[in-house]
């Protein structure tokens, strides 16, 4: 049996132009990596239909150890208070190699 270890998976859905700012804070708050998917959607701020690339969303995924989650969440909350539209949710996941997610991008 392969041993599995708990981690948190942070998900953020927002407009594509937020990408640089989010990536910056992942570097700053010690994430070991992130993944970005192109998305469309609808929510409180209306339709983001990705029509001709004019209104695309991104879906961002970050696996972090639980103890590093809240610093990132707080930085997201600050952005939300400034008026940015971020749809955020967290999932419990299990990983095979917890050390991988403990090594910040900056120490690569």
């Amino acid at each position: 049996m392969i041993a599995l270890y708990p981690q948190k998976l942070l998900n953020i859905i927002t407009i594509d132009s937020m990408e640089d700012r989010l990536v910056e804070s992942f570097h700053k708050y010690g994430a070991s990596g992130y993944t970005i998917l192109r998305a469309r959607g609808e929510g409180a701020s209306g339709l983001q239909a990705d029509i001709s690339g004019f209104d695309a969303n991104i879906m961002v995924k970050v696996i972090v150890p639980e103890e590093r989650l809240s610093a990132i969440l707080e930085s997201l909350e600050r952005k939300i208070l400034k008026g940015y539209h971020l749809t955020v949710f967290i999932t419990d996941v299990q990983v095979m190699t917890p050390e991988k997610f403990a090594k910040p991008l900056s120490e690569r």
């Binding site: 407009i15 001709s52 208070l81």
Partner: protein, 340 residues
């Protein structure tokens, strides 16, 4: 008559077809990345062409074109802002975000104007092309400054209770850093890089090597423009539907403001830069058009408190179609009248 012949240009008709396709809820969808490719091609083509011409240009005129492009880019948003704040239909932050769009320009509208002038066999100078490149970004700066002012006055008038506190704090280090990065983004904007880069390449390349490029940049140009406007018609139509949310008075601004910009541009083109009718029409179009590529994402980041459906509906859903269909022949007629 001039207006009618404009309405029967294939490029305008394809724009209309795009609008109609959305209104009848057709399942027609252009791939999301197509508009980007087409606009890179279009900017590259007019850039190469313009640069090739500009190699023979008068440096003095080029220089004053740039200065006046900057003046237009800085002053038009301020006019718009004062007007919007005066009507009290939107809050100051929305006013800042909206008016920034009108200081910048729409390459699609400019290209349509070139197609219009070509079709009417009207000659024009190449300087407006430099102005197109120059005007893309300054309005973003003005938008940021207006927003900073708006945030201060909101804080002063203590009507800030609806807004979260952090947004009214005095600019701190992080904000300055953000301002810096927004500035950099404004001036290294993709469209600007393609346009200015292509102009330089067009200017320094040998005529022989440019000759090999002409079939690509000339012959299929009009067809690609039609395809681009077809696509943009669908983009615009997606926003037309939101006009109810925006309100009638604000929609009126979306038609009034390009008229103001068009008149100011026409004056600059004729009386100050001393361009021909064709060239001055292009300057009028620069004044009249509102950005829908560079400015909206910049405003999303810089003024997140503003409501995007206001400025997107105005610039994409109202001003853009108005200019493409009615504005261009109007500014042309205006310039003709003023030139006589």
């Amino acid at each position: 008559m001039s207006s009618l012949s404009n309405l029967l240009l294939p490029a305008v008709l394809f724009f209309a077809l795009g609008v109609i396709a959305r209104l009848i809820k057709s399942d027609l969808r252009f791939p999301p990345d197509l508009a980007k490719v087409l606009s890179i091609y279009l900017l590259m083509s007019i850039g190469l062409h313009g640069g090739y011409e500009l190699a023979k240009a008068d440096l003095m005129t080029a220089f004053s074109s740039i200065i006046w492009a900057l003046i237009l880019g800085f002053s038009l948003p301020i006019i718009g802002y004062l007007f919007l704040v005066f009507t009290r239909k939107v809050n100051p932050l929305d006013a800042a975000a909206i008016s920034a769009h009108y200081g910048s320009v729409s390459a699609g509208t400019f290209l349509m104007a070139i197609a219009y002038l070509d079709n009417a066999a009207v000659k024009y100078e190449t300087y407006p092309l430099i102005m197109l490149a120059v005007m893309e970004s300054p309005a973003i700066v003005v938008g940021l400054l207006l927003a900073a002012k708006a945030r201060q006055s909101l804080a002063a008038h203590e009507i800030t209770s609806q807004l979260p506190p952090s947004s009214t704090l005095p600019a701190n280090d992080q904000d300055k850093q953000q301002f810096g990065s927004l500035m950099r983004e404004a001036f290294t904007n993709g469209s600007v890089v393609v346009l200015i880069g292509s102009m330089i390449i067009g200017a320094v390349s040998s005529p022989a090597s440019m000759g090999k490029l002409f079939p690509f940049i000339d012959e299929i140009f009009m067809g690609v423009l039609c395809l681009f406007l077809f696509d943009m018609g669908m983009v615009a139509a997606r926003r037309i539907g939101d006009f109810r949310q925006v309100g009638l008075l604000l929609c009126a601004f979306g038609i009034l403001m390009p008229l103001v910009g068009g008149v100011v541009g026409a004056c600059v083109g004729i009386y100050i830069l001393d361009f021909s009718v064709g060239g001055a029409t292009l300057v009028a179009v620069l004044g009249a058009s509102a950005s829908y590529i560079a400015v909206p994402p910049a405003m999303r980041l810089a003024i997140p408190e503003a409501n995007p459906s206001f400025y997107l509906t105005l610039s994409l859903g109202i001003t853009f179609p108005f200019n493409v269909v009615f504005g261009i022949p109007l500014y042309h007629a205006l310039v003709q009248a003023m030139a006589n």
